[in-house]
Amino acid sequence: MTAGVVQVNGELIATRRAGAYHHLTFVAPGLAEHARPGQFVALTVGGPTAATLLRRCFSIHRVSPSGTYGGTVDVVVSAKGAGTQWLTALRAHDETDIVGPLGRPFPLPTEPVPCVLVGGGYGSAPLFWLAEALRERGCAVHLVLGAATEARLFGVVEGRRCADTVTVTTDDGSLGHRGWVSDVLPGVIRDSGAAVVYGCGPMGMLRSVTEVAAAEGAVAQVAVEESMACGVGVCMTCVLPVRGNDGLTRMVRSCVEGPVFRGDRVRWDAFSDGLCRVPADAVGAPRAGGH
């Protein structure tokens, strides 16, 4: 029945701070075997007495299929609301339920083309694993990491190990270039001759990654972060308007048809002010008078 997805009780075996984030390692037997970069896991939060019913989703930072614990999964968590605060307060040997791997991974190029990987904040979490997979195929890997401040960057050191170049930007200039990833991205793409740009981070960043990639003649593959109630495809809360092969726009579920989409397929024009409207030309869009 599981078709590659497992639901396991995950024991936390390591938790450490990483700048503004927490890096957690859970035992998750059977999960690693099927996981690929860009996929995510959904964790229950709050324990048995919790009022927080919904799972929280996190990009898989990495997996290790075997070892002392028989398979582990790593995630990088930013303590934001009730659930992530609970997760980051866990101590070793605490447990939570894990479902994964979920969603579609980053597609890997069939040829050994140069690639640029862009991560915003904790959005860099899945990129190091992706970098390794790309380099195994002979692709040159150039990493661009951006965040508001140095503390909100993740994996700069790790990046230097697994990428050919690492470019860092911070809004406040506390590390690397002062400014946004989109300021440096055109140069990195041009210098590397990249054919593919992978992005993971806030929606605004993904949109500019898509635009810059298009302008430089590269394909953008972006992992979006939509509010998810189930993570497994059954609730329809995580949708966004995406143009299909047939040219038609549909509201598609980012948890099963994403989170990775080709950037030029996403209808960025529908997003504004924290909302996403249904484009008027979308399949089944509400007509005047409302449905």
């Binding site: 019913l53 189930c230 329809m236 409207r277």
Partner: protein, 331 residues
């Protein structure tokens, strides 16, 4: 949390007859998914065998494809959530050829949830369903006359006995007599029994209770409604006491003869076998698990196993003996 509530009685549990009779449709188990909380089966089938359920309940389908609303579509709330999906779906024609056919192919028993913008559209959807090749896996039709998400609150059929009755009657005409139809009611009414009466009188073979409560969450940073649809449907354990009360009231009205005795499908806040037992003891002949499946995708099947154990521990030989039992135990 996701464990069996009780390890004891497992062998006894297997001897509890879990079958239930829903207005002619006899199902091997009272457990079901809830409409809109299990998509159309494929995704959940990764976590549980759909044949283990008494019936799989599909996402409400309308005549035409619908994009649903913009986002955000949800907010977490204490022990629950608010959703404002706007009945996104492929439309009945794509539904029967793709989704229903697939459900049939895996051997699922299917309760198809339908809706329309007008009573006539409900009937149209029912007719196209009936005409479909995969219709033989359909064990019943749930008439969703109570979705609070659809734009015009004035159009919530289940707030008005007349509109409810008319819709049910038109759907009833389109379907063979051996296919029971269930009217799905909202608890957001002053007099639930009068709506139930109208639905049953118009030909509903049973009632599904309850749909979500109309609710709202405000984003306290942006100081505006958190879901794009402004209001939304409240679901999850938070609302279970309302579901139990609704089932209790309608069952009591049946016992008092104010309404013919028809089966009730209970839904609202069920997460464990104990929760399911609450709905059953109040009068539910079947139990749907909705929002809890977002927490535990295996929940609809797990809850059934837990329920079976609890019934065994309490000495029930048949599930059906527990239906409405709390009405016999009040002083």
């Amino acid at each position: 949390m996701t464990m069996l509530e009780s390890a004891v009685g497992v062998s006894a549990a297997t001897s509890v007859d879990m079958s239930t009779d829903l207005g002619g449709a006899v199902l091997p188990s009272p457990m079901m998914t809830a409409s809109g909380c299990a998509a159309n089966g494929r995704e959940l089938h990764r976590f549980l065998d759909l044949r283990e359920l008494g019936a799989f309940v599909t996402k409400t389908v309308m005549a035409q494809p619908r994009s649903g609303r913009g986002t955000p579509r949800m907010a977490e709330t204490p022990s629950g959530m608010l959703n404002s999906i706007g009945l996104q779906g492929p439309g009945i024609d794509a539904f029967v050829t793709k989704d229903l056919a697939w459900l049939r192919s895996v051997g699922a028993r299917v309760l198809v949830s339908i809706a329309g913008n007008t009573s006539g559209e409900f009937a149209d959807v029912a007719a196209r369903l009936r005409a479909s090749d995969a219709f033989d896996c359909v064990v019943g039709v749930e008439v969703n006359i109570s979705c609070p998400n659809v734009a015009n609150r004035g159009l919530v059929f289940a707030c008005d006995p007349l509109a409810s009755g008319k819709t049910v009657a038109l759907v009833r005409e389109q379907l063979p007599r051996d296919i029971p139809i269930f009217a799905k009611l909202t608890p957001d009414v002053t007099d639930l029994v009068s709506i139930a009466q109208a639905a049953v009188k118009a030909g509903a073979d049973g009632l599904t209770m309850v749909n979500t409560l109309l609710g709202m969450v405000i984003d306290t940073d942006l100081l505006r409604p958190q879901v794009a649809g402004v209001t939304g449907g409240l679901s999850g354990p938070a609302i279970r006491p309302v579901a139990v009360r609704a089932i209790w009231q309608v069952r009591a009205a049946m016992l008092e003869g104010r309404l013919p005795r028809v089966p009730i499908i209970g839904v609202g806040g069920v997460r464990t076998g104990r929760d399911a037992l609450e709905l059953v003891a109040a009068g539910a002949s079947a139990v749907q698990v909705g929002t809890a499946a977002f927490n535990d995708p295996g929940a609809p099947a797990r809850v059934g196993r837990e329920l079976q154990s609890l019934l065994a521990e309490r000495g029930f030989a048949r599930f059906s003996d527990a239906v409405g039992v709390a009405h016999e135990r009040i002083a």
